[in-house]
Structure formats: structure tokens, C-alpha cells
Point group: C2
Chain length 125, copies 2
């Protein structure tokens, strides 16, 4: 298994999820050694949830998993890019395709993204 | 100025630099409030260097600055995407276009990137 440098940021490194087909950046989350290992083993993106302090199989509840198409590591081995197929079409819990759906326009945020699903229907809240 | 959430990760949040034209992810670094402010003020990407513990104007020495074309913020306001024009063509200190130039292939890393400059010529070392 490829060894990453987990010595910084309290044992976590950032993982960028990018749509393998379009190149759109979908989300950023953190991984620890366990999440890295599970991602490689299963071919589905796993992260470390900082808020819940637990392994996070993205889409494990909703079915909207991220199928790994390719993984790239950076020059320092302390950041990774997951190129994924986003099942269900949306990475963001808001139902938007990407978490990065707002563009900075001076002092305002302009929503540009596309809403793929209604979070109330998927999460029941 | 758009207020980001710098309360996690010791006052730092990850910033993804993405080529505005091709969509390629070029690098990932961290920003603090000062780097965010300087980026907005100058239209050139600034980061916080964790190794040097100082404000980092990317390309300030080499001239290979990153001209901001658009900035996107994520749903939690704790990660940003800088869409940039990378002057000089390479974001990585190794001379590769992207820091993410190695693909994970089982237990090996396969170099796929394109070397744009010779770091010895640019940095003199």
C-alpha cells in the first residue's frame, strides 16, 4: 500500500474528490490512515469525519457512493485527489452536484450550481 | 469580504488551486485569514506556508504566480477552490504542471505529469 505522510494536521490529510469525467471539484474532506486503507481496499471513497470523529463511507447511508476511477498523490505525499464517479450525481449534502457551488463575487456569493436531488427526500429531514 | 470558517485545523483551511482552463487540479495548500485577504486584494493566490510559518505569495520569487480567475467556496465555508491561470505553466516546485503528477497503481506510483521547467534553472538549486 502506498504510504502517505499523516504526520501533519493531527494525522489527517486533505482529499479532493473530483468528477472523473468532467474535472469538476466535487468536495474536500480529510482522510486518516484507516480511511485511506478502506478506500484502496473497497474502491469507494472513505473519509474521516471530523465532526463525528469516525470513519465515513461517503454515500454509505444514501447510496450516493463515490466509485474510485483513479487516485493521484501530490509531491509531498500529504494530499490526494480521488477521481470518482459520483453515484446519484451529487456530492453535497445540500443536493448540489458540488459542494463548491458558490462563486465569490465581491462581497457576495453567487450560487451557480445545479441541484440534483432534494435533501429532504434523500435524508428524510 | 466573504467570511470563511477558520475555526478548525488551527486557523487554517485548505485551498485547492485548479487550472481555470483545463480543470486540472494543480496543488493544495492552506490559507489563513491573512492569506485569504491578500488573495482577494491582489487577485493573486496567497497561502500560509506551514513549513516556514509565514504568508506565501505563490510565485513571488520565481514569477510563477497564480492569477485568480474565479473563487468558489464550499457549503461549510471551510474550503475554497482558486481557479487560476498558472503563470509559467507549472504549479509544482518539481517543475511539473501539477503537484498531483503521480497516479496510484496498486503498490506503485506512476508518473503521468508533464515537466514544464527545470527546477535548477528556476530556483538555482
Amino acid at each position: 500500500m502506498i504510504e502517505l505522510d499523516f504526520t501533519k494536521t493531527g494525522g489527517l490529510i486533505p482529499a479532493i474528490a473530483q468528477d472523473a469525467a468532467s474535472g469538476q471539484v466535487l468536495m474536500l474532506a480529510f482522510i486518516n490512515q484507516q480511511a485511506w486503507q478502506k478506500t484502496l481496499e473497497t474502491g469507494e471513497a472513505h473519509y474521516w469525519s471530523r465532526s463525528r470523529q469516525e470513519l465515513w463511507h461517503k454515500g454509505g447511508t444514501s447510496g450516493h457512493v463515490q466509485k474510485i476511477k483513479a487516485i493521484y498523490v501530490d509531491c509531498d505525499l500529504d494530499a490526494v485527489v480521488y477521481q470518482v464517479e459520483q453515484i446519484g450525481g451529487a456530492a453535497c449534502h445540500t443536493g448540489m452536484r458540488s459542494c463548491f457551488y458558490r462563486r465569490v463575487e465581491g462581497d457576495a456569493l453567487v450560487s451557480e450550481g445545479e441541484r440534483v436531488f432534494d435533501p429532504k427526500e434523500v435524508y428524510g429531514k
